[in-house]
């Protein structure tokens, strides 16, 4: 159904925007490198594709005159979330441009700020692209062309936002969000275990360690069963 598709696209765009935000945080710091700039480029291009697709779907849905009132309200809610997400993305892109220009990687005018963040962010970018891992193919001078591309893309995104505001008339104040004040705490079982400030936390992803534990346990169980059978046979 159209609504489910729109929702799925919006979720994907949301994920890409969050990952992009997370990557832009480290530009200019000690983790900045050509790889990071490449990851930024891939993430934002994916986000833009998703944005274009979402916008087409949502505009088609909202233009449809035969929608019921409830459906229309639902689509308007999605629309408001979509435009907010796009605003966040555009703001982050502008900041990435400003920071990228101020901290160029090719002819090091300024030394990068030593912030203590050292690791790579390949996992974040892979998450945004819904891929398992990311291959880096950046050449040495990547960031110079990248900045020009970025400017063009910023203009495209701002144009898209402007078009959206002009063509679709969704007054923000009539939209009622579905989530109540405490909603975020209910279904965040996975996220709640992220105690980012607590020190006693597992490093690996949950799935891998759980799978490992399960294999070990089943192996031990099998060994115990085999021993019991041998003992039974011998006695």
């Amino acid at each position: 159904m159209a609504r489910e598709e729109c929702k799925a696209l919006l979720d994907a765009l949301n994920k890409a925007t969050a990952c992009y935000h997370h990557l832009v945080l480290t530009v200019g710091g000690s983790a900045d490198s050509q790889n990071l700039r490449e990851e930024l480029q891939k993430t934002r291009q994916k986000a833009q594709e998703l944005a274009v697709a979402t916008r087409a779907q949502l505009t088609a849905a909202l233009r449809d005159r035969g929608l019921g009132a409830e459906e229309r309200a639902e689509f308007e809610r999605l629309w408001v979330a979509f435009s907010g997400c796009l605003d966040l993305l555009e703001a982050d892109m502008r900041r990435a441009l400003a920071l990228g220009t101020a901290f160029p990687l090719h002819a090091p005018r300024r030394p990068l700020v030593r912030t203590g963040v050292a690791g790579g962010a390949a996992g974040v970018a892979a998450r945004a692209l819904s891929a398992r891992s990311l291959r880096h193919e950046a050449e040495g001078d990547f960031d110079v062309d990248d900045l020009r591309e970025l400017e063009r893309e910023i203009l495209q995104v701002s144009e898209m936002i402007h078009d959206m505001e002009m063509k679709v008339n969704v007054p923000r104040w009539t939209v009622q969000a579905r989530q109540t004040a405490g909603a975020e705490l209910l279904s965040s079982a996975g996220a709640s275990s992220v105690g980012a400030v607590s020190v006693q936390e597992r490093t690996g992803p949950c799935d891998l360690s759980k799978a490992l534990a399960a294999t070990v346990f089943s192996a031990v169980l099998l060994a115990a069963v085999a021993l019991a059978v041998c003992v039974a046979k011998l006695s």
Partner: protein, 547 residues
């Protein structure tokens, strides 16, 4: 990196950033250590004492000043302490600090957006399982009311950002969380902590920008103006940072925009690349504040205006700064001993000791003027005339010389100049009859040319019709009577009789002296008793009412 008018007000931030960047130099920067938590090791820590030492060495300042400078850096969020609880002070010892990532620098991300704050609070809420306390909980509720239409987005983004953070190593995650926390400590300080980013009321920047914006719009060619939808002015320019001020951006924006133009730029009359009228209106509106800097059409009107301006500038009278400064020095040296702030005031400063003898002794009409006041009459004629007591004494002196009508005429002219519009006719008439008519009772001696001009002007009297005559009389008094007055016996008597106010006596028992503090503000007095404020305000016995 902030755009437009903010850059002018934020110059101290760019200076601080330069300091921070120079600290990063691998050879000459600050010494870095590593922080060792239970299992993880996070590099790039500096100790407070190292920071102070480096600043003192690099800028050749005293330790105290280096400490103050370092404290400024910490307060603006460029350095943050690693110990809990996070408070933005610089301690000159082993306390570890770390540098803030450029994304969270005040200049990149200013002003702080409400949506971002909502997302941050939501993330904190999720992490702490709903245990937000105090001002953060209040802010969260407020934002929920304000941004209720966007709350879905807030929750979604918060969840996704937390999940994205999980993809990093633990050490990086900790650092990023600390960075964000510091940023929000600076931009949304807890109650009781003064906000370092508070600026005074907006000055003329706003008005000037508004006027300039309209001017820039009118300078655009008509094709562009028609394609700009008029509600554009109502749309808020989003607070996202516009990469405008950095000089290297402009040539690259040129390159980015050029592929989209179809028309040669010269025909449109803009020297910078013009935008395709139909597709880039949005880009134009979002870059609008930047247009103030680079849209300037150099057509004939502009050059005519420039020529006129230069011509006017040539005819302006100029004074050499050496001459100005000499006069300025003379003025300050002469008036120095008379200034109550520079040289202290006798008997005592009323604002400090609640003793208003100083004001009563220097009231406009007082029987016996102070010695300083009488001395001031000797500085210039203007001083003498401005002081009512001086003017009265001067009038007495002129009476003895039988030239009092000059001063009376001058006073009458002043009355005409500053009086009401309805009384001009009557006043001018009275002045003519009393001072200027041939055979008048108090005829003033003015030269014939001025008299002719004045009489002609009096046919249609207006406020400034007697200006020439007044100036003539003023000059006469200044050159003639005034020096005689200063040398006269009357003036010397005045100087001798003038009183020097005594210095406030020191009491024998110091602890019985009234504590010097200002009167309590009326806002703090109890509103119920109405008689009390009157009594308190009048007398100097405010020692009981402690502020």
């Amino acid at each position: 990196m902030a755009g437009g008018r903010q850059a002018a007000q934020m110059s101290h931030l760019s200076k601080m950033e330069r300091v921070v960047v120079s600290m990063q130099d691998p050879d000459q920067g600050v010494k870095m250590r590593s922080q060792r938590l239970l299992v993880t090791v996070i590099p790039h820590t500096v100790a407070g004492s190292d920071v102070v030492e480096w600043l003192a060495h690099k800028y050749c300042v005293s330790d105290e000043e280096a400490l103050h400078l370092g404290a400024l850096l910490v307060q603006h969020g460029y350095l943050y302490p690693l110990r809990d609880p996070p408070s933005l002070v610089l301690r000159s010892d082993d306390t570890p600090y770390r540098f803030q990532t450029p994304y969270f620098w005040t200049s990149t991300l200013w002003p702080a957006a409400e949506l971002d704050y909502a997302i941050y609070l939501m993330k904190k809420n999720i992490r702490k399982q709903g245990a937000l306390v105090g001002h953060e909980k209040e802010h969260c509720d407020q934002l929920h009311r304000k941004l209720s239409h966007m709350w879905d987005l807030v929750v979604m983004q918060a969840r996704e950002q937390l999940r994205a953070a999980k993809q990093r190593r633990k050490g990086d995650r900790l650092v990023i969380a600390c960075q964000e926390q510091t940023y929000w400590l600076v931009n949304r300080p807890p109650p009781g902590v003064p906000s370092i980013l508070e600026q005074g009321p907006e000055r003329s920047f706003c008005a000037a920008e508004g006027v300039q914006m309209v001017r820039a719009l009118h300078m655009l060619p008509t094709t562009l103006r028609t394609c700009l939808p008029t509600p554009t002015w109502g749309l808020p320019i989003r607070p996202s940072i516009l990469p405008s001020v950095h000089p290297s951006i402009h040539p690259s924006i040129q390159m980015a925009l050029d592929p989209y133009t179809e028309r040669p730029c010269s025909a449109a009359g803009i020297t910078r690349p013009c935008l395709h009228p139909h597709s880039h209106a949005s880009a134009l509106t979002s870059c609008l504040p930047n247009l103030l800097h680079w849209v300037q059409i150099k057509n004939t009107e502009f050059y005519k205006w420039e020529m006129e301006r230069c011509r006017k500038a040539l005819t302006r009278a100029r004074v050499k700064s050496s001459v100005c400064l000499e006069a300025y020095l003379k003025f300050t040296s002469q008036h120095g001993p008379h200034d109550p702030i520079v040289s202290g005031c006798l008997p005592s400063n009323p604002w400090v000791t609640d003793d208003d003898t100083y004001w009563t002794m220097n009231a406009p009409s007082v029987a016996v003027p102070t010695k300083l006041r009488v001395e001031r009459w000797g500085f210039s004629f203007q001083e003498l005339l401005e002081d009512p007591v001086g003017r009265a004494h001067f009038m007495d002196f002129l009476r003895t010389e039988f030239s009092a009508e000059n001063l009376s005429f001058w006073e009458a002219c002043e009355e005409l100049r500053h009086g009401g519009q309805a009384q001009i006719h009557a006043t001018a008439d009275a002045v003519y009859r009393q001072f200027l008519a041939p055979g008048a009772a108090r005829w003033v001696n003015i030269d014939s040319q001025t008299m002719e001009r004045t009489l002609r002007g009096l046919q249609q009297p207006h406020r400034y019709v007697l200006d020439d005559a007044q100036l003539h009389v003023y000059m006469l008094m200044k050159k003639d009577s005034y020096p005689r007055f200063l040398k006269s016996a009357a003036y010397k008597d005045l100087l001798a009789e003038a009183v020097i106010p005594p210095d406030a006596k020191r009491r024998v028992f110091p602890f019985m002296r009234k504590p010097p503090h200002s009167s309590p503000s009326p806002a703090l007095l109890p509103a119920s008793t109405s008689g009390e404020p009157v009594a308190v305000a009048s007398g100097p016995e405010c020692g009981d009412g402690d502020t």
